[in-house]
Symmetry: C2
Subunit: 103 residues, 2 copies
């Protein structure tokens, strides 16, 4: 349904007001960012992201009320999980390669 990548994309859209800027901030292509937004919009009962192509403002995107609720709910689950499974999460994160500039 939703993993860390999509949650981060939602958050970047909220912060940048743009799907392409959000994707750029995460090092993904415009096409990939749009594709993930379309997946999320189709998976939930209401779209999570509302976007306007073109127009005076040159487009732009924002989270819907459902998008806000999903992002907040996801972050809350992450917090609870981090508290309950902190040791297991740290062990898994220890298997990750150190990325220059990554996380």
């Amino acid at each position: 349904m939703l993993g860390p990548g999509k949650a981060d994309l939602l958050q970047q859209i909220r912060e940048t007001g743009s799907i392409s800027a959000a994707g750029r901030a995460m090092g993904m292509s415009y096409k990939r960012a749009w594709s993930l937004v379309e997946e999320m919009n189709a998976a939930f009962r209401e779209p999570l992201v509302q976007s306007a192509r073109g127009g005076a403002s040159g487009g732009g995107a924002q989270l819907t009320a459902m998008g806000e609720a999903v992002l907040v709910g996801y972050r809350r689950i992450e917090e609870i999980a981090a508290e309950a499974a902190g040791a297991e999460i740290a062990a898994l994160a220890g298997f990750l390669r150190d990325m220059p500039g990554g996380k």
Copy 2:
């Protein structure tokens, strides 16, 4: 690092012994499945999936020891999270559209 989609893909690769069969079982294109495998293999200190293209067996793929460890660790985190944040996860899942044949 890893979300539910990639974890399911790892599990399907373990079960089917094939990246393309795993992707098919999840309704994703061969290209998408390969791309996700490449992302995971690059993100971790060692590859999670080992694959052989062509050859007498026509290719095939399997999880490495690291892939097994990551999948088992991820499922354990999910279990702990489901126990600790069950109500919040159920609330979020309630926002999902009912997918015919989906989950």
